[in-house]
Amino acid sequence: MREGTMDALLVVEDIHKRYGKEEVLKGVSFQLRKGETKVIIGPSGTGKSTLLRCINRLTEPDRGRVWLEGVEVTSRKVDINRIRAQIGFVFQDFNLFTHLTALGNVRLGPMRVLGMRKEEATKLAQEELARVGLADKADAFPAQLSGGQQQRVSIARALAMNPKLILFDEPTSALDPELIGEVLEVMIQLAKDGMTMIVVTHEMGFARSVADEIIFMEKGVIVEQGPPAQLFSAPKHPRTAEFLSKITELYGGTEE
């Protein structure tokens, strides 16, 4: 435990990651308090997704450390499966289990990882599906659901593990524009309910209205970070201003 990290749920310190010649992460550090929503923005290929994956070691960082409630995630001695069970992850491509119904997808983790009994896990899964507005789709298979519905199932799957925080990796990037809203709605409600979240996204409307803090990343480093009002109205760094105006032009300022 380091000084000044006492009240942080998650501490990320000096993360480095290199793929071959290219260094995608060049020393990224930040902290996350319980109940906080952080949004990470930045151009494609700046290591945002890699950073998320380094937090629960789906990708092993080359250097740097991560703590979750004082437990070092990056320690070689830690049981990484126990850590991952406490960190939800929502993928850009949903990655639902094709052979299972929505219900089956949501209750698999509680049953196989938390050792919950089937009836109990089923009840929990039904509650989580209701929470994302899909109570009536419990018996549908992923191939029978729209992209937006699939992504909501995958959020319910993460929620069912009762995670300490959820990492969202561009959760709406693979969706048709008319399906983005239903997913963002669920995420906004989660943030209001006090869920701790890190969200990589290009949805500036979401970032502006929900984020407690926005991190702007470029070329493997954090260029600037601060509350949305400050970042949007008075960015300190010229690159931040440039990126924000370009992205707002591209994606519009939806979800105001």
Partner: protein
């Protein structure tokens, strides 16, 4: 006319021919079980085994796919006697043809495993599942479904291979038919027509059964026969 008379004469041998065909079914069962278990293991090692184990698995597959079935049978049946070990014909045939089938089945399963989008393994691991648990609960249930059409093919091939065991003195249908022919050469044609009919029935009923299984486990909304592109 004369031919039908002979068919009638073969009729006397029918009970024994049928009894002998049960040996083929027993051998078939052994081959499919050995082939399925080892084939699945070999496929998993090839995909997830790391450098050393996957190399071992590929070498295994290469060996048992390259050596002719008869050569394998002779190696397994007559080979051990050089070391003073007496191997029963049924065991030798089960191992020789079972290992051979496992090599072919491993190809089918490996293709099926690799057809599953890799994101599903990542998602399972992200939930905190161990790799083994993810394989068991996420990968294999899908891989086996995808493998059914290919496996049907392998079934048809293995069911016919059981007759090769006659070469290592196993008293199965082919060997019995040959005994009839050796005693009464003029019955040869009629006898082997009966044998052929038996295999038509075996192949048809096995494939029909597998077709039922495939429909029973079809995933709603998903195009099944290897149409993995539909998953994305």
């Amino acid at each position: 006319m004369e031919f039908f008379l002979k068919l009638g004469q073969v009729g006397h041998h029918l009970p024994m021919l049928m009894r002998a065909s049960l040996v083929n079914l027993e051998l078939l069962g052994a081959l499919l079980v050995i082939g399925f278990l080892i084939g699945t293991l070999v496929a998993l090692l090839q995909v997830y085994g790391g450098r050393v184990l996957s190399t071992v698995a590929f070498v295994y597959e290469w060996i048992f796919r390259s050596i002719p079935a008869l050569v394998l049978l002779f190696l397994f049946y007559y080979g051990p006697s050089h070391f003073g070990i007496d191997v029963q014909a049924f065991l030798a045939a089960s191992l020789a043809l079972g290992f051979r089938s496992s090599a072919y089945q491993s190809q089918i399963f490996r293709g099926a495993i690799q057809a599953i989008p890799s994101g599903q393994m990542v998602a399972a691991r992200a939930l905190g599942m161990s790799r083994l648990s993810a394989i068991r609960h996420v990968i294999l249930p899908q891989a086996f479904r995808l493998a059914i059409p290919g496996w049907s093919n392998e079934y048809s091939s293995v069911v016919k291979d059981t007759t090769l065991a006659y070469a290592v003195t196993l008293n199965e249908i082919m060997r019995y038919a040959k005994t009839i022919m050796d005693r009464q050469y003029d019955l040869a044609m009629a006898t082997f027509i009966v044998v052929a009919l038996v295999f038509l029935v075996f192949t048809y009923s096995g494939n029909a059964l597998l077709g039922l299984v495939e429909r029973r486990f079809r995933i709603p909304g998903l195009q099944m026969p290897g149409a993995t592109g539909a998953i994305l």
